[in-house]
Amino acid sequence: MKQLAIFLFAALVGATAQAAEYKIDTKGAHAFIQFRIKHLGYSWLYGRFDDFDGSFFYDDKAPEKSTVNVNIDVTSLNSNHAERDKHLRGSDFLDVAKFPTATFKSTAFESLGEGKAKLSGELTLRGVTKPITIDVTEIGGGKDPWGGYRQGFTGTTEFALKDFGIDYNLGPASQKVEMILDIEGVKI
């Protein structure tokens, strides 16, 4: 009975999320910045950036006020193949020696209802800043078992490599890269 009471209390608090600032939980690795690009048009190649940090503001009563800021250490690229990673970090692709950091700063958040949204923002990658739009789905939020409060989203976007100054020819099927973004924030 007591446990049920605690559960109900927790569920109630969980359901009444307030406007709050969240730190993206990279410390506990509950956030992933992944990309995928077609290999020759025959399969998907996946990679990710292991080191990044960021925060977001979210108010489920006024989602349009949401903002997100993320900094990515581009040198942490990992596609599970050292020689490929070296090439991707080199000047043919991300040129991380010159541009070690990528950033995303949101400019607008448009709620589409049912937990869907469009997040607009500026992505700076390889020294080029371009507007991108991320299709966002809210996964969930609420109390965690350790006294914190969490909120999580998933998002996808895609852009052409050329838009960010990468013109190495990987073939006609590999002009665009998709980003698959999963973030879980812990309320600060």
């Binding site: 040198t75 193949h81 050292a82 070296k86 970090r89 190495y168 020819n169 073939g171």
Partner: protein, 202 residues
């Protein structure tokens, strides 16, 4: 010709090692430089690095044998008229070439094995990874590999120029010794020596 070196002459093992490795080393430098510029759709995009790695590993084996061979053989003395500082500089340059070769091969190995993958040598055998997981290992090893390769090429040019200087200006037998043409000094006669010079003067 003897297999082993003498005090004034190289044996055929040292000579074969030198002339087997010299073109391989220069060839690997050229291949390494060229293959990095290949487009993704070039047939050599995959073959180039595979050849580079395979030859590199075999070269490492040859280098280790060569150093062992050097250790258990006398080194032919410098030509009598060579100034002391020159023979000292030559010894230092030779030592630096060996060290650079070793460092370049190790750094190359550390690039390709940074993720735990082994290096395939012509599909004949593979060399397993050992040190891995250093942050950005492949990038650091790659930079070391490139910078040291250029240093090596600078020394190779110096080495070749020094050999030519001995042959054409000092007119001594330095170059002839590593060609297996014997220790007979080049006379004032025309430079190309007939086969008779295979017999050595002591």
């Amino acid at each position: 010709m003897s297999a082993r070196n003498s005090d004034n002459q190289y044996g055929w093992v040292a000579i074969v090692l030198h002339w087997l490795m010299a073109p391989a080393i220069i060839g690997l430098f050229a291949l390494g430089w060229w293959m990095r510029q290949l487009s993704y759709y070039d047939p050599w995009y995959r073959q180039g690095p595979e050849l580079h790695k395979s030859v590199g590993i075999l070269l490492l084996g040859l280098l280790l044998f060569r150093l062992l061979w050097k250790l258990i053989n006398p080194s032919p003395a410098a030509e009598p008229k060579t100034p002391r500082w020159q023979s000292l500089a030559a010894r230092m340059a030779h030592g630096a070439i060996y060290l650079l070769l070793l460092a370049i091969m190790c750094s190359g190995y550390l690039i390709s094995t940074a993720d735990g993958r082994a290096i395939e040598v012509f599909g004949w055998f593979s060399l397993a990874a050992t040190i891995q997981g250093i942050p950005n290992q492949e990038d650091i090893a790659g930079q070391v590999h490139e910078v040291l390769a250029w240093c090596l090429m600078a020394l190779v040019v110096l080495h070749a120029l020094a050999a030519l200087k001995h042959h054409f200006i000092d007119r001594d037998a330095t170059l002839r010794k590593i060609l297996g043409l014997g220790a007979k000094p080049v006379s004032d006669k025309p430079l190309s020596q007939p086969q008779e010079s295979l017999t050595t003067t002591k």
